[in-house]
């Protein structure tokens, strides 16, 4: 089981589940990060700071702690 935090930059994956409370899930879902969607991590970001992903045509920045709660499957 991999989390979004462990995904390599430039790689694509499918979201399997989101761990955490209802409120947290709702906030991610509002931004389009939900079970079953394809997600792509941006290339060449620094090893610190937020993670930037592409979902649909939107770009989302999220903290590393949050990203580690998004479980993914690399395709």
């Amino acid at each position: 089981m991999l989390s979004l935090a462990q995904l390599l930059s430039g790689q694509s994956a499918k979201v399997i589940s989101i761990e955490g409370g209802m409120g947290f899930r709702q906030r991610l879902e509002n931004l389009g990060i939900r079970k079953g969607v394809m997600i792509k991590k941006a290339k060449g970001m620094s090893a610190y700071g937020p993670i930037v992903v592409k979902v649909g045509s939107a770009q989302i920045a999220l903290g590393r702690g949050m990203a580690s709660k998004v479980i993914i499957e690399v395709l």
Binding site: G23, Q26, R27, L28, E29, N30, L31, G32, R34, A42, K43, G44, M45, S46, Y48, G49, P50, V52, V55, G56, S57, A58, Q59, I60, A61, L62, G63, R64, G65, M66
Partner: protein, 574 residues
């Protein structure tokens, strides 16, 4: 009739709003909250209505106060216009379907950013979408105004969809709709995409940020000083002063009315920095010193906001802000605070956690000087050289960092993480920028100008009743011994509770040395926020946290004043 514009953040809703409404647009507060939204009216042959631009929201299950307001605004609306970003149809449709299912109001959907779909490889069948949703769909490009006419013409056709009664999960239904109406094609990166990516990728991101910030401040300074030197100063000198001098002759120097309205004459004439009358300094400070900078600051801020750069700055600043217990998005209230602390404090509601609110508010009040104050500091210290202005701001920034670190360690709780959408770069729409600028300047003139006058009136009364002398004697040990300032500085400290710009202006007639000026303006910047900010902070933080925050301010000011006085003397600045 009331028309409500609702949609996700960054879909160009405000541009549609400016296109629909006339010149008179106001910012309103939702009752009982500090959340602002814009209100205006539209008048076309087929429809006359009040238009409300709701805060951006992703869904009707609100996750923040702004979203709550957006949701509650629906109840009062007669017609809902849902603005959608065509390049991100799937996610935007979530709100649309919620609107269809949960509200019982006529709905019309606007596919905005229609022109962008072409280079993004998105093809949407608009007619099929209209069939699937069961409400009218209009395509627009708000920037060029294309489609806005059709939007107005079709407003009468808005209706309640028959999709209302479907019970499938919303995401499933969206999937079905999207499958039917949208096709995606691969396409190549444009130069704008490349710039967009670079601006979040280190090391380019830092270089771009440095250039943007430097250019912004240079332009703000250039426009501000230009307006002062070529328009406002000549106006006051050549047209206003003669009128005032006539009035002065009429009022008799030395009388109560003369000293309140005109103040002291210097060398037989008015000195707007020193006279301190209602009609002289009271008009000069807000109009000729502060307004030019308010204008240039909000012009540039509006451009940065609409271009979409600020979220990128937030990502870049994330690590720095984590050091003070916040996350990168806290840069938004801080930047707003540089204009005026009140909107900055209002923006701190963006944070749900008490700890974050407390740290943001305290840092804002102590270490983020507003543009009115900055303009006065430049006016006062600038004549000794720009390096001293820079010195004061460096001191304030160090203080921001140090205090933030300390509060991060000693305030209980965790610092949450950033979660934001990074909108694509967009070319700002001039009319929307000017409307926003006008709303902000109007607000400044209405809110700040009367308080400046009140402040100057109170100064005059306090001097007249010798209360300033009395307070000066009481606080003299701190002011003279610790800070090395003359006892009369108490006047500025008292007025600083009302308006910081007037307070800084009051240092001018005291003939302070350079060391005293630097110490004085720094203390004035940090010891307390102005009363307008204070009231907002009490509302946002509660009285208990605000008292704590106030204690930190007073303590910090005393300490920093003492340190500056000694360090500056030590390095030979007298």
């Amino acid at each position: 009739m009331k028309v409500l514009l609702i949609g996700n953040p960054n879909v160009g809703k405000s541009v549609i709003f400016s296109r629909l409404t006339g010149a008179r647009v106001i910012a309103a507060n939702y009752p009982g909250t500090t959340v602002e939204f814009a209100k205006g009216s539209m008048s076309f042959p087929n429809i006359e209505a009040e238009v409300i631009d709701a805060p951006g929201t992703y869904s009707l299950e609100p996750t923040s106060k702004a979203e709550e307001v957006a949701t509650s605004l629906i109840d009062d609306a007669d017609l809902i216009i849902n603005v959608i970003d065509s390049t991100n149809l799937e996610r935007n449709l979530y709100l649309t379907l919620e609107l269809i299912r949960k509200t019982n109001k006529p709905l019309l959907v606007v596919l905005n950013m229609w022109d962008e779909t072409k280079h993004k490889g998105v093809v949407i069948d608009k007619d099929k979408l209209e069939d699937s949703l069961g409400v009218p769909v209009v395509t627009t490009c708000a920037l060029t105004g294309e489609g806005v006419k059709e939007l107005v013409q079709r407003m009468g056709q808005a209706k309640i969809s028959s999709l209302k009664d479907l019970k499938d999960p919303i995401w499933f239904e969206i999937g079905e709709v999207v499958k039917k109406v949208q096709k995606l094609f691969h396409r190549h990166h444009t130069p704008l995409d490349v710039l967009q990516d670079l601006s979040i990728k280190p090391p380019f991101s830092f270089i771009i940020a440095a250039v943007v910030v430097f250019l912004s401040f240079s332009i703000i300074r250039f426009i501000g000083e230009g307006l002062i030197n070529y328009i406002f100063d000549p106006f006051f000198k050549n047209f206003y002063s003669p009128v005032i001098m006539k009035l002065s002759g009429f009022l008799i120097e030395g009388s109560f009315f003369h000293s309140t309205l005109i103040g002291d004459l210097v060398g037989g004439g008015v000195d707007y920095g020193v006279s301190f009358g209602l009609l002289t300094t009271g008009f000069y400070i807000p109009i000729a010193v502060v307004l030019p900078y308010i204008f240039s600051f909000y012009l540039i801020l509006g451009l940065l906001e609409d271009w979409g750069y600020l979220p990128r700055l937030a990502i870049l600043g994330d690590r720095l802000f984590h050091k003070v217990g916040l996350h990168g998005y806290a840069i938004i209230p801080m930047i707003l605070g540089l204009g005026c602390n009140v909107p900055g404090a209002l923006a701190s509601r963006l944070f749900e956690a008490r700890r974050e609110k407390f740290i943001t508010a305290t840092l804002l009040a102590i270490a983020v000087p507003c543009m009115a104050q900055t303009a006065m500091i430049i006016n006062l210290l600038g004549r000794f050289g720009g390096q001293y202005v820079l010195l004061v701001f460096s001191i304030i920034f160090c203080l921001w960092l140090t205090l933030g670190r300390i509060m991060n360690i000693f305030t209980r709780g965790q610092s949450p993480e950033i979660l934001i959408e990074i909108p694509p770069y967009r070319i700002p729409h001039l009319k929307s920028i000017l409307k926003k600028l006008w709303m902000r300047i109007n607000w400044f003139l209405k809110e700040a100008f009367p308080i400046v006058l009140l402040g100057i009136l109170i100064v005059n009364i306090l001097y007249f009743l010798k209360i300033i002398d009395f307070l000066g004697n009481i606080f003299s040990p701190i002011i003279t011994k610790l800070w090395g300032l003359p006892q009369e500085t108490i006047g500025a400290l008292v007025v600083g509770f009302l308006r910081k710009d007037v307070a800084v202006g009051m240092l001018r007639p005291l003939n302070l040395s350079l060391r005293q000026l630097i110490t004085g303006v720094t203390i004035l910047a940090i010891y307390f926020p102005c009363v307008a900010t204070f009231m907002v902070l009490v509302k946002e933080l509660g009285i208990k946290d605000m008292l704590k925050s106030t204690l930190i301010m007073l303590f910090t000011a005393t300490l920093v004043g003492f340190a500056l006085n000694n360090i500056l003397s030590f390095i030979g600045i007298q």
